[in-house]
Amino acid sequence: MAAIVTTPRPRRRALASAWRKYKWPYLFISPFYISFLIFGLFPLLAALYLGFHSWDGMSAPHWVGLRNYVRLLTVDQFFLQSLANTFILGVMCLVPKLVLALLVAVAINSGLLRGKTLYQVLYFLPIVTSPVAVAIVFLTIFGQRTGILNYVLAGVGLQPVRWLVEPWTIKPAITLLIVWHEVGWYMVIYLAGLQSIPQDIYDAASVDGANGWRRLLHITLPMLAPVILFTVVVDIIGELQVFAEPFVLVGPSGGPDRQGLTMAMYLFQNAFVGMKMGYAAAQAYVMFAIIAFLSLLNIKVFGRSGTR
């Protein structure tokens, strides 16, 4: 009996001494875990629960099994359209954004231009402003009937385009806005990557007679590959959650023929306008699955490139 009573005591004493020893680091990191428990983990599990229920936000949720998911992925034309829109927009934005950012970064880093810092500051300027402000400005650039962009088009002899009225120009309009807004961010990241490439590699290549193009193709791009991959993944994950820009530019319902309806906008519509909370939660988990898949792919790819 005595043994049973006394055994916990040393353990407790060991715990107490461990606590005395490690009290500070645990205290210092605890705010994050407490906050995550309340504002991260609870919502995450609640969304999983809600996804299997039908709920208007007021009365008791009732169980519907997989019906939300089945409807989303097979019947709901709006969801499938928003999924396609999001991916198409993502690619339309990603390619010019990263290519332009890379070209500008290489040009600024080439040593041929002066005023490197000034260029960086100017190209980075758009990203410090809010998507809402930027979308409002572009609203007037695209114009209702006329607009400054159409004025420019007329100047080079092209017909005016009703950018935000015709279904087929909605995506190009959103793309133009997002590319303009974010190109500077990736430019700065690429510049950081370029500056970390050792100069002696270039020197050696010059001695070997490699000209500018060949140095770009055979040194810069391969050396920058991990950075490029990183930006591609980060950008795709960001694009999959695009909300504010199309929301303000073409309106909550996605504009003509819903060409600007993204997944995040449709989720917002379902949850906070249609009050279909359970259905929207299921949609959130479909998005989560897509993003998690891409993130894991990213880790796999990075893991491999790290060992190379």
Binding site: F32, A47, G57, A107, L113, T129, A271
Partner: protein
């Protein structure tokens, strides 16, 4: 390699390379000029929407959509601001945005650097697992937690309250990661030992030593955090119901898409919300970009 070696030999032995000494320099000059034109043109394209914003904010809607459109600012800015103030409590919205973004930034810098310090400079059981877990939470998209989070805020009675926007954002994984990476590299262990010998407690070491050395990282993280919250739309959009508690982004959003949008007033509000940010950015741009440059590739 052989081919390239042969080329060098050709370069070194034949007089062809030296026959036209001007041609290489000329080509360099030419590509320099082309680059200048392209890169400067791109920079001007980055600037133009800001200029256009000023034009619209100083003119009437009729002016803006006339053909050809005006290319210089007008003189109607005061009138536009006046009509903005008639449709929105914009001063109040402004104050809301300032207080909201500032509170989140201050709290987050404190909690993130504290945790970053612990992960960088302490050994404790479970440290690596806890850190890996923290990193993995960054993969959770905001859209997943949005709905239950909103319901939670409703339970807490935080609808229309800034507690909903500030408290859940007071600490975040990215900032902790950012601070850990910087502190691990920048704060020498000997300095911490020395401070401890001098009688500094753990928190004393944090606020007397770590905070000072980590100030460049804190600066860049602070600006990113402030901008992120100042520019945030989704959170304030679902939490704030009453125009007096709107942030700038939500307030401006409500003016868009009205049947007769007053673009002059809307753009005057946009200018007011953007200009202080731009001025602040331009004042600290060099250091800020240097901070981003140093931090952006930490993940790779």
């Amino acid at each position: 390699m052989d081919e390239e070696g042969a080329q060098i030999m050709v370069r070194l032995t034949t007089p062809r390379a030296t026959r036209r000494p001007g041609s290489a320099a000329l080509r360099r000059r030419l590509s320099q000029a082309v680059l200048y034109v392209l890169v400067t043109g791109g920079a001007l394209l980055c600037l133009f929407p800001f200029y256009w914003m000023v034009i619209v904010s100083t003119r009437s809607s009729a002016d803006v959509f006339s053909f050809p459109p005006p290319l210089t600012p007008g003189g109607l800015f005061p009138q536009n601001v006046q009509s903005l103030l008639q449709s929105l409590p914009y001063g109040r919205n402004y104050l809301n945005s300032v207080l909201y973004a500032t509170s989140v930034t201050v709290l987050m810098l404190f909690f993130d650097s504290l945790a970053g310090f612990a992960f960088a400079k302490y050994e404790f059981p479970g440290r690596d697992a806890l850190f890996t877990f923290l990193l993995s939470t960054m993969m959770i998209p905001y859209t997943v937690t949005l709905i239950p989070w909103f319901i939670e805020m409703k339970w807490f009675g935080w609808i229309n309250s800034y507690a909903a926007l500030i408290i859940p954002s007071a600490v975040d994984a990215f900032g902790i990661f950012w601070m850990r990476q910087y502190i691990a590299g920048a704060v020498p262990g000997e300095l911490i030992d020395a401070a401890r010998i001098d009688g500094c407690g753990d928190f004393g070491i944090y606020h007397r030593v770590v905070v000072h050395i980590a100030s460049p990282a804190l600066g860049a993280l602070g600006i990113l955090t402030f901008l992120g919250n100042w520019n945030n739309l989704v959170g304030p959009l679902i939490i704030m119901r009453d125009p007096a508690s709107f942030t700038l982004t939500v307030a401006l959003r409500t003016l868009v898409g009205l049947r007769l949008t007053d673009y002059g007033a809307l753009m005057a509000g946009t200018v007011l919300s953007v200009v202080p940010i731009l001025l602040g950015y331009l004042a600290g741009a060099r250091r800020f970009i240097a901070g981003i440059t140093a931090g952006s590739l930490q993940g790779i």
